[in-house]
Protein backbone atom coordinates (compact mmCIF):
# COMPACT_ATOMS: atom_id res chain seq x y z
CA UNK A 1 0.00 0.00 0.00
CA UNK A 2 1.35 3.40 -0.93
CA UNK A 3 0.58 6.61 0.93
CA UNK A 4 -1.79 9.19 -0.60
CA UNK A 5 0.91 11.57 -1.92
CA UNK A 6 3.87 9.35 -2.77
CA UNK A 7 5.87 11.72 -4.96
CA UNK A 8 5.68 14.65 -2.52
CA UNK A 9 6.49 12.47 0.45
CA UNK A 10 9.40 10.97 -1.45
CA UNK A 11 10.95 14.32 -2.28
CA UNK A 12 10.33 15.65 1.21
CA UNK A 13 11.92 12.58 2.80
CA UNK A 14 14.90 12.64 0.44
CA UNK A 15 15.62 16.32 1.00
CA UNK A 16 14.85 15.98 4.69
CA UNK A 17 17.20 13.06 5.19
CA UNK A 18 20.08 14.78 3.40
CA UNK A 19 19.47 18.06 5.22
CA UNK A 20 19.26 16.34 8.57
CA UNK A 21 22.47 14.46 7.84
CA UNK A 22 24.16 17.77 7.05
CA UNK A 23 22.73 19.26 10.21
CA UNK A 24 23.93 16.23 12.09
CA UNK A 25 27.51 16.95 11.02
CA UNK A 26 27.18 20.32 12.74
CA UNK A 27 25.16 18.93 15.62
CA UNK A 28 27.58 16.14 16.37
CA UNK A 29 30.55 18.48 16.49
CA UNK A 30 28.74 20.88 18.80
CA UNK A 31 27.35 18.16 21.06
CA UNK A 32 30.70 16.41 21.30
CA UNK A 33 32.21 19.77 22.22
CA UNK A 34 29.47 20.38 24.82
CA UNK A 35 30.40 17.16 26.54
CA UNK A 36 34.11 17.88 26.25
CA UNK A 37 34.00 21.31 27.96
CA UNK A 38 34.66 23.25 24.79
CA UNK A 39 32.79 25.00 21.98
CA UNK A 40 32.32 23.33 18.65
CA UNK A 41 32.37 25.33 15.43
CA UNK A 42 30.95 28.73 16.32
CA UNK A 43 32.62 31.07 13.85
CA UNK A 44 31.43 30.21 10.35
CA UNK A 45 27.78 31.24 10.53
CA UNK A 46 25.47 32.04 13.44
CA UNK A 47 26.44 29.33 15.95
CA UNK A 48 28.67 27.79 13.31
CA UNK A 49 25.70 26.55 11.24
CA UNK A 50 27.45 27.22 7.94
CA UNK A 51 30.31 24.90 8.92
CA UNK A 52 28.76 21.95 7.11
CA UNK A 53 28.35 24.07 3.99
CA UNK A 54 32.00 25.11 4.20
CA UNK A 55 33.04 21.47 4.60
CA UNK A 56 30.95 20.38 1.64
CA UNK A 57 32.40 23.14 -0.56
CA UNK A 58 35.87 22.04 0.46
CA UNK A 59 35.09 18.41 -0.38
CA UNK A 60 33.68 19.35 -3.78
CA UNK A 61 36.81 21.26 -4.67
CA UNK A 62 39.16 18.43 -3.75
CA UNK A 63 40.84 16.51 -6.52
CA UNK A 64 38.76 13.47 -7.41
CA UNK A 65 41.55 10.99 -7.80
CA UNK A 66 41.05 7.31 -8.50
CA UNK A 67 44.19 5.28 -7.87
CA UNK A 68 45.50 3.85 -11.16
CA UNK A 69 45.93 0.45 -9.52
CA UNK A 70 42.36 0.39 -8.22
CA UNK A 71 39.44 -1.45 -9.73
CA UNK A 72 37.86 1.65 -11.24
CA UNK A 73 34.15 0.89 -11.51
CA UNK A 74 33.91 -0.93 -8.20
CA UNK A 75 35.82 1.93 -6.60
CA UNK A 76 33.23 4.40 -7.87
CA UNK A 77 30.32 2.11 -7.05
CA UNK A 78 31.12 1.47 -3.39
CA UNK A 79 30.15 4.85 -1.88
CA UNK A 80 27.06 4.91 -4.04
CA UNK A 81 25.89 1.64 -2.49
CA UNK A 82 26.13 3.09 1.00
CA UNK A 83 23.97 6.08 0.12
CA UNK A 84 21.57 3.96 -1.88
CA UNK A 85 20.84 1.40 0.83
CA UNK A 86 20.36 3.84 3.69
CA UNK A 87 18.14 6.13 1.63
CA UNK A 88 16.10 3.16 0.43
CA UNK A 89 15.52 2.08 4.02
CA UNK A 90 13.78 5.38 4.65
CA UNK A 91 11.05 4.35 2.23
CA UNK A 92 9.34 2.17 4.83
CA UNK A 93 9.70 4.35 7.94
CA UNK A 94 6.40 5.85 9.19
CA UNK A 95 6.89 9.45 10.29
CA UNK A 96 3.30 10.25 11.16
CA UNK A 97 -0.07 8.63 10.58
CA UNK A 98 -0.37 8.53 6.79
CA UNK A 99 3.09 10.03 6.21
CA UNK A 100 5.05 7.15 4.77
CA UNK A 101 6.34 6.58 1.27
CA UNK A 102 5.47 2.94 1.02
CA UNK A 103 3.53 0.92 3.56
CA UNK A 104 5.14 -2.42 2.73
CA UNK A 105 3.73 -5.44 4.51
CA UNK A 106 7.30 -6.81 4.90
CA UNK A 107 8.87 -3.52 5.99
CA UNK A 108 11.04 -5.02 8.74
CA UNK A 109 12.50 -7.56 6.32
CA UNK A 110 13.14 -4.79 3.79
CA UNK A 111 15.02 -2.77 6.38
CA UNK A 112 17.13 -5.79 7.37
CA UNK A 113 17.85 -6.56 3.72
CA UNK A 114 18.98 -3.01 3.02
CA UNK A 115 21.31 -2.99 5.99
CA UNK A 116 22.79 -6.27 4.82
CA UNK A 117 23.42 -4.77 1.40
CA UNK A 118 25.25 -1.93 3.13
CA UNK A 119 27.98 -4.35 4.15
CA UNK A 120 28.82 -4.72 0.44
CA UNK A 121 29.86 -1.11 0.17
CA UNK A 122 32.54 -1.47 2.82
CA UNK A 123 33.87 -4.72 1.47
CA UNK A 124 33.92 -3.42 -2.10
CA UNK A 125 35.63 -0.22 -1.00
CA UNK A 126 38.29 -2.17 0.83
CA UNK A 127 38.74 -4.56 -2.11
CA UNK A 128 38.72 -2.00 -4.91
CA UNK A 129 41.32 0.20 -3.23
CA UNK A 130 44.02 -2.41 -3.92
CA UNK A 131 45.70 -1.39 -0.68
CA UNK A 132 46.58 -3.87 2.07
CA UNK A 133 45.45 -1.59 4.86
CA UNK A 134 42.18 -0.80 3.15
CA UNK A 135 41.58 -4.49 2.60
CA UNK A 136 42.23 -5.25 6.26
CA UNK A 137 39.89 -2.47 7.31
CA UNK A 138 37.25 -3.70 4.90
CA UNK A 139 37.53 -7.30 6.08
CA UNK A 140 37.27 -6.28 9.71
CA UNK A 141 34.28 -4.12 8.95
CA UNK A 142 32.62 -6.97 7.08
CA UNK A 143 33.22 -9.39 9.95
CA UNK A 144 31.91 -6.92 12.50
CA UNK A 145 28.83 -5.93 10.53
CA UNK A 146 27.91 -9.49 9.62
CA UNK A 147 28.18 -10.81 13.15
CA UNK A 148 26.18 -7.95 14.61
CA UNK A 149 23.55 -8.22 11.91
CA UNK A 150 22.70 -11.75 13.01
CA UNK A 151 21.29 -10.71 16.32
CA UNK A 152 19.92 -7.43 14.97
CA UNK A 153 17.35 -9.40 13.07
CA UNK A 154 16.64 -11.66 16.01
CA UNK A 155 16.18 -8.78 18.42
CA UNK A 156 13.59 -7.27 16.10
CA UNK A 157 11.62 -10.47 15.97
CA UNK A 158 10.33 -9.88 19.49
CA UNK A 159 8.48 -6.76 18.37
CA UNK A 160 7.22 -8.53 15.29
CA UNK A 161 5.84 -11.29 17.52
CA UNK A 162 4.11 -8.81 19.79
CA UNK A 163 2.62 -6.86 16.92
CA UNK A 164 1.85 -9.86 14.79
CA UNK A 165 3.03 -8.26 11.58
CA UNK A 166 6.15 -7.22 9.69
CA UNK A 167 4.47 -3.99 8.68
CA UNK A 168 5.96 -1.00 10.50
CA UNK A 169 2.65 0.87 10.56
CA UNK A 170 1.06 -2.11 12.31
CA UNK A 171 3.93 -2.24 14.79
CA UNK A 172 3.47 1.44 15.61
CA UNK A 173 -0.26 0.99 15.99
CA UNK A 174 0.23 -2.02 18.24
CA UNK A 175 2.05 0.24 20.70
CA UNK A 176 -1.04 2.30 21.42
CA UNK A 177 -1.34 1.09 24.98
CA UNK A 178 2.22 0.24 25.90
CA UNK A 179 5.45 1.03 24.10
CA UNK A 180 7.39 -2.09 23.20
CA UNK A 181 10.42 -0.91 25.13
CA UNK A 182 8.73 -2.17 28.31
CA UNK A 183 8.07 -5.81 27.44
CA UNK A 184 11.00 -5.97 25.02
CA UNK A 185 13.65 -4.06 26.98
CA UNK A 186 16.31 -6.67 26.26
CA UNK A 187 15.40 -6.56 22.59
CA UNK A 188 15.70 -2.78 22.62
CA UNK A 189 19.17 -2.90 24.18
CA UNK A 190 20.30 -5.57 21.71
CA UNK A 191 18.90 -3.68 18.73
CA UNK A 192 20.55 -0.46 19.82
CA UNK A 193 23.94 -2.16 20.19
CA UNK A 194 23.52 -3.92 16.85
CA UNK A 195 22.50 -0.64 15.23
CA UNK A 196 25.62 1.10 16.50
CA UNK A 197 27.74 -1.70 15.10
CA UNK A 198 25.93 -1.60 11.76
CA UNK A 199 26.60 2.08 11.24
CA UNK A 200 30.19 1.73 12.44
CA UNK A 201 29.86 4.28 15.25
CA UNK A 202 31.91 4.39 18.39
CA UNK A 203 32.41 2.16 20.28
CA UNK A 204 32.30 -0.10 17.20
CA UNK A 205 34.16 2.12 14.78
CA UNK A 206 37.19 -0.10 14.22
CA UNK A 207 36.93 0.29 10.42
CA UNK A 208 37.28 4.04 10.85
CA UNK A 209 39.64 4.06 13.76
CA UNK A 210 41.97 2.11 11.55
CA UNK A 211 41.98 5.24 9.47
CA UNK A 212 43.25 7.20 12.42
CA UNK A 213 45.90 4.67 13.19
CA UNK A 214 46.72 3.15 9.80
CA UNK A 215 44.38 3.63 6.84
CA UNK A 216 41.03 1.87 6.88
CA UNK A 217 38.64 1.00 4.13
CA UNK A 218 38.24 4.57 2.90
CA UNK A 219 41.95 5.37 2.78
CA UNK A 220 42.11 5.83 -0.99
CA UNK A 221 38.97 7.92 -1.12
CA UNK A 222 39.15 11.70 -1.37
CA UNK A 223 36.79 14.50 -2.22
CA UNK A 224 33.15 13.80 -2.74
CA UNK A 225 33.47 10.00 -2.66
CA UNK A 226 34.71 10.30 0.90
CA UNK A 227 31.93 12.80 1.45
CA UNK A 228 29.44 10.14 0.39
CA UNK A 229 30.78 7.68 2.97
CA UNK A 230 30.74 10.43 5.56
CA UNK A 231 27.18 11.61 4.85
CA UNK A 232 26.04 8.03 4.39
CA UNK A 233 27.21 7.22 7.88
CA UNK A 234 25.22 10.11 9.32
CA UNK A 235 22.09 9.10 7.42
CA UNK A 236 22.66 5.60 8.80
CA UNK A 237 22.61 6.89 12.37
CA UNK A 238 19.46 8.81 11.54
CA UNK A 239 17.95 5.60 10.18
CA UNK A 240 18.82 3.54 13.26
CA UNK A 241 17.41 6.23 15.57
CA UNK A 242 14.23 6.28 13.48
CA UNK A 243 13.92 2.52 13.64
CA UNK A 244 14.40 2.50 17.40
CA UNK A 245 11.64 5.07 17.88
CA UNK A 246 9.31 3.26 15.49
CA UNK A 247 9.91 -0.23 16.82
CA UNK A 248 10.27 0.35 20.54
CA UNK A 249 9.10 3.82 21.46
CA UNK A 250 5.77 4.16 19.74
CA UNK A 251 6.87 6.09 16.67
CA UNK A 252 4.67 9.15 16.36
CA UNK A 253 2.50 8.52 19.41
CA UNK A 254 2.35 10.99 22.24
CA UNK A 255 -0.03 13.44 23.94
CA UNK A 256 -0.79 17.00 22.81
CA UNK A 257 1.78 17.57 20.06
CA UNK A 258 1.27 16.39 16.47
CA UNK A 259 2.70 13.00 15.53
CA UNK A 260 5.56 14.21 13.39
CA UNK A 261 6.85 16.40 16.23
CA UNK A 262 6.93 13.47 18.64
CA UNK A 263 8.70 11.39 16.02
CA UNK A 264 11.42 14.03 15.69
CA UNK A 265 11.73 14.50 19.44
CA UNK A 266 12.29 10.81 19.97
CA UNK A 267 14.66 10.47 17.01
CA UNK A 268 16.73 13.43 18.14
CA UNK A 269 16.90 12.02 21.64
CA UNK A 270 18.46 8.84 20.27
CA UNK A 271 20.78 10.80 18.00
CA UNK A 272 21.99 12.66 21.08
CA UNK A 273 22.46 9.35 22.83
CA UNK A 274 24.63 8.03 19.98
CA UNK A 275 26.74 11.15 20.12
CA UNK A 276 27.06 10.76 23.90
CA UNK A 277 28.31 7.22 23.30
CA UNK A 278 30.93 8.58 20.97
CA UNK A 279 32.00 11.18 23.51
CA UNK A 280 32.40 8.77 26.38
CA UNK A 281 33.23 5.19 25.54
CA UNK A 282 36.63 3.68 24.70
CA UNK A 283 37.05 1.41 21.74
CA UNK A 284 37.23 -2.33 22.34
CA UNK A 285 39.77 -4.59 20.66
CA UNK A 286 38.55 -6.43 17.64
CA UNK A 287 38.59 -9.87 19.25
CA UNK A 288 36.75 -8.50 22.27
CA UNK A 289 34.15 -7.09 19.91
CA UNK A 290 33.65 -10.38 18.06
CA UNK A 291 33.53 -12.36 21.31
CA UNK A 292 30.86 -10.09 22.66
CA UNK A 293 28.81 -10.32 19.50
CA UNK A 294 28.80 -14.08 19.20
CA UNK A 295 29.11 -15.30 22.76
CA UNK A 296 26.98 -12.78 24.63
CA UNK A 297 24.63 -10.92 22.32
CA UNK A 298 23.50 -13.78 20.14
CA UNK A 299 22.50 -16.10 23.03
CA UNK A 300 20.68 -13.19 24.67
CA UNK A 301 18.80 -12.47 21.45
CA UNK A 302 17.81 -16.10 21.11
CA UNK A 303 16.73 -16.24 24.74
CA UNK A 304 14.68 -13.07 24.28
CA UNK A 305 12.94 -14.54 21.28
CA UNK A 306 12.30 -17.81 23.09
CA UNK A 307 10.77 -16.14 26.14
CA UNK A 308 8.67 -13.74 24.06
CA UNK A 309 7.38 -16.56 21.92
CA UNK A 310 6.63 -18.75 24.92
CA UNK A 311 4.79 -15.99 26.78
CA UNK A 312 2.77 -15.03 23.75
CA UNK A 313 1.84 -18.62 23.08
CA UNK A 314 0.95 -19.33 26.70
CA UNK A 315 -1.04 -16.23 27.56
CA UNK A 316 -2.20 -14.48 24.42
CA UNK A 317 -3.60 -17.09 22.08
Amino acid sequence: MISPYPATTLIVVLIGALTLAGGLVWGERRLLALWQDRYGPNRVGPFGLMQTLADMIKLFFKEDWIPPFADKWVFILAPAIVMFTVLMSFVVVPFAPGMIISDLNIAVLFFLAMSSLGVYSIVLAGWASDNKYALLGGMRAAAQMLSYEVFMGLSLMGTVLLAGSFDLVDIVNAQRHLWFVVPQFLGFVLFMIAGIAETRRLPFDLPESESEIVAGFHSEYSGMKFGMFFVGEYIGILLISSMITVLFFGGWQGPLLPGIVWYFIKTFFFLGFFILLRASLPRPRFDQLMDWGWKLMLPLALANLLVTGAVKLAFFS
Binding site: A33, L34, W35, Q36, D37, R38, Y39, L276, L277, A279, S280, L281
Partner: protein, 171 residues
Amino acid sequence: MLSIIRTLWDVFLHAFRRRVTIQYPEQKAYLSARYRGRIILSRDPEGGERCVACYLCAVACPVDCIALQATEDNTGRRYPEFFRINFSRCIFCGYCEEACPTYAIQLTPDTEMGEYNRQNMVYEKEHLLISGPGKYPNYNFWRVAGVNIGGKDKGEAEREAPPTDLRSLMP
Protein backbone atom coordinates in the same frame (compact mmCIF):
# COMPACT_ATOMS: atom_id res chain seq x y z
CA MET B 1 28.25 -2.89 32.00
CA LEU B 2 27.49 -0.75 35.01
CA SER B 3 30.76 1.12 34.60
CA ILE B 4 29.67 1.98 31.06
CA ILE B 5 26.41 3.48 32.34
CA ARG B 6 28.31 5.42 34.95
CA THR B 7 30.72 6.74 32.30
CA LEU B 8 27.81 7.85 30.17
CA TRP B 9 26.23 9.70 33.10
CA ASP B 10 29.55 11.35 34.05
CA VAL B 11 30.20 12.56 30.52
CA PHE B 12 26.62 13.79 30.27
CA LEU B 13 27.12 15.95 33.37
CA HIS B 14 29.95 17.73 31.60
CA ALA B 15 27.29 19.57 29.65
CA PHE B 16 26.62 21.65 32.75
CA ARG B 17 30.18 22.72 33.38
CA ARG B 18 31.83 25.90 32.18
CA ARG B 19 33.71 25.57 28.92
CA VAL B 20 37.43 26.20 29.02
CA THR B 21 37.78 27.68 25.54
CA ILE B 22 39.22 31.19 25.25
CA GLN B 23 37.44 32.87 22.35
CA TYR B 24 40.36 34.50 20.57
CA PRO B 25 40.45 37.33 19.38
CA GLU B 26 37.60 38.62 21.52
CA GLN B 27 39.23 37.21 24.65
CA LYS B 28 42.95 36.79 25.04
CA ALA B 29 44.91 34.39 27.23
CA TYR B 30 46.68 35.79 30.28
CA LEU B 31 50.40 36.22 29.68
CA SER B 32 52.58 36.99 32.70
CA ALA B 33 54.87 40.01 32.74
CA ARG B 34 57.96 37.92 32.16
CA TYR B 35 56.46 36.06 29.18
CA ARG B 36 59.02 35.93 26.36
CA GLY B 37 57.21 37.63 23.50
CA ARG B 38 58.07 40.49 21.17
CA ILE B 39 61.48 42.12 21.66
CA ILE B 40 61.78 45.87 22.32
CA LEU B 41 64.57 48.36 22.92
CA SER B 42 63.88 50.55 25.94
CA ARG B 43 64.96 54.00 27.09
CA ASP B 44 66.27 55.05 30.48
CA PRO B 45 64.11 57.20 32.84
CA GLU B 46 65.67 60.40 31.46
CA GLY B 47 64.61 59.54 27.90
CA GLY B 48 67.90 58.55 26.26
CA GLU B 49 68.42 55.19 24.57
CA ARG B 50 69.68 52.49 26.89
CA CYS B 51 71.40 50.44 24.20
CA VAL B 52 75.20 50.98 24.14
CA ALA B 53 75.80 48.75 21.09
CA CYS B 54 78.07 46.41 23.00
CA TYR B 55 77.17 43.49 20.65
CA LEU B 56 76.58 41.14 23.62
CA CYS B 57 73.02 40.33 22.51
CA ALA B 58 74.14 39.57 18.95
CA VAL B 59 76.81 37.23 20.31
CA ALA B 60 74.44 35.54 22.75
CA CYS B 61 71.73 34.94 20.18
CA PRO B 62 71.66 31.20 19.29
CA VAL B 63 70.22 31.79 15.81
CA ASP B 64 72.08 35.02 14.92
CA CYS B 65 69.00 37.08 14.25
CA ILE B 66 70.36 40.37 15.67
CA ALA B 67 72.47 42.75 13.56
CA LEU B 68 73.74 46.10 14.78
CA GLN B 69 76.52 48.66 14.28
CA ALA B 70 77.96 50.81 17.06
CA THR B 71 78.64 54.51 16.73
CA GLU B 72 79.27 57.44 19.12
CA ASP B 73 77.42 60.71 19.46
CA ASN B 74 79.22 63.99 20.04
CA THR B 75 79.22 63.62 23.87
CA GLY B 76 81.01 60.30 23.56
CA ARG B 77 77.96 58.20 24.34
CA ARG B 78 77.80 54.95 22.34
CA TYR B 79 74.58 54.05 20.57
CA PRO B 80 73.59 51.72 17.72
CA GLU B 81 73.63 53.23 14.22
CA PHE B 82 71.21 50.51 13.11
CA PHE B 83 69.68 47.64 15.08
CA ARG B 84 67.90 44.89 13.20
CA ILE B 85 66.16 41.80 14.49
CA ASN B 86 64.89 39.19 12.06
CA PHE B 87 61.75 37.88 13.76
CA SER B 88 61.35 35.03 11.31
CA ARG B 89 64.54 33.59 12.84
CA CYS B 90 64.05 34.66 16.45
CA ILE B 91 63.22 31.81 18.81
CA PHE B 92 62.23 34.07 21.73
CA CYS B 93 64.66 32.34 24.09
CA GLY B 94 65.52 35.51 26.04
CA TYR B 95 69.30 35.03 25.95
CA CYS B 96 69.72 38.55 24.57
CA GLU B 97 67.75 39.97 27.50
CA GLU B 98 69.94 38.03 29.94
CA ALA B 99 73.14 39.18 28.21
CA CYS B 100 72.28 42.90 28.01
CA PRO B 101 74.22 44.92 30.61
CA THR B 102 71.98 47.98 30.40
CA TYR B 103 68.49 46.39 30.43
CA ALA B 104 68.02 47.81 26.95
CA ILE B 105 66.72 44.80 25.07
CA GLN B 106 63.64 43.24 26.70
CA LEU B 107 61.04 40.62 25.85
CA THR B 108 57.43 41.65 26.34
CA PRO B 109 54.21 39.58 26.62
CA ASP B 110 53.05 40.43 23.10
CA THR B 111 52.80 37.65 20.55
CA GLU B 112 50.66 39.16 17.78
CA MET B 113 53.21 39.63 15.04
CA GLY B 114 51.74 37.78 12.07
CA GLU B 115 52.74 39.02 8.61
CA TYR B 116 52.05 37.92 5.05
CA ASN B 117 55.38 39.09 3.68
CA ARG B 118 58.56 37.72 5.20
CA GLN B 119 60.40 41.00 4.69
CA ASN B 120 57.94 42.70 7.04
CA MET B 121 59.22 40.46 9.82
CA VAL B 122 62.62 42.15 9.92
CA TYR B 123 62.24 44.89 12.53
CA GLU B 124 64.52 47.94 12.43
CA LYS B 125 65.44 50.16 15.34
CA GLU B 126 62.52 52.50 14.75
CA HIS B 127 60.17 49.52 15.11
CA LEU B 128 61.89 48.19 18.20
CA LEU B 129 62.55 51.37 20.18
CA ILE B 130 59.89 52.31 22.71
CA SER B 131 59.45 55.57 24.57
CA GLY B 132 59.50 54.15 28.08
CA PRO B 133 61.77 52.11 30.35
CA GLY B 134 59.98 48.77 29.81
CA LYS B 135 60.18 46.26 32.65
CA TYR B 136 62.95 47.99 34.65
CA PRO B 137 61.79 51.52 35.43
CA ASN B 138 64.58 52.95 37.58
CA TYR B 139 67.79 51.78 35.95
CA ASN B 140 70.15 54.09 34.10
CA PHE B 141 73.40 52.40 33.08
CA TRP B 142 75.33 55.63 32.74
CA ARG B 143 74.73 56.52 36.41
CA VAL B 144 76.53 53.37 37.61
CA ALA B 145 79.12 53.07 34.84
CA GLY B 146 82.54 54.33 35.77
CA VAL B 147 83.18 56.52 32.70
CA ASN B 148 83.35 60.23 32.18
CA ILE B 149 80.00 60.70 30.46
CA GLY B 150 76.66 62.22 31.25
CA GLY B 151 77.86 65.13 33.35
CA LYS B 152 79.83 63.19 35.96
CA ASP B 153 83.50 62.53 36.28
CA LYS B 154 85.32 59.29 36.97
CA GLY B 155 84.66 58.33 40.56
CA GLU B 156 81.34 60.15 40.86
CA ALA B 157 78.95 57.34 39.78
CA GLU B 158 76.52 55.70 42.22
CA ARG B 159 78.17 53.41 44.76
CA GLU B 160 81.60 54.19 43.31
CA ALA B 161 84.59 55.24 45.29
CA PRO B 162 86.79 58.03 43.84
CA PRO B 163 89.90 56.74 42.03
CA THR B 164 93.11 56.55 44.06
CA ASP B 165 95.89 59.00 43.14
CA LEU B 166 98.79 56.76 42.07
CA ARG B 167 101.40 59.52 42.15
CA SER B 168 100.86 60.84 45.65
CA LEU B 169 102.65 59.43 48.63
CA MET B 170 99.82 60.03 51.11
CA PRO B 171 97.87 56.92 52.25
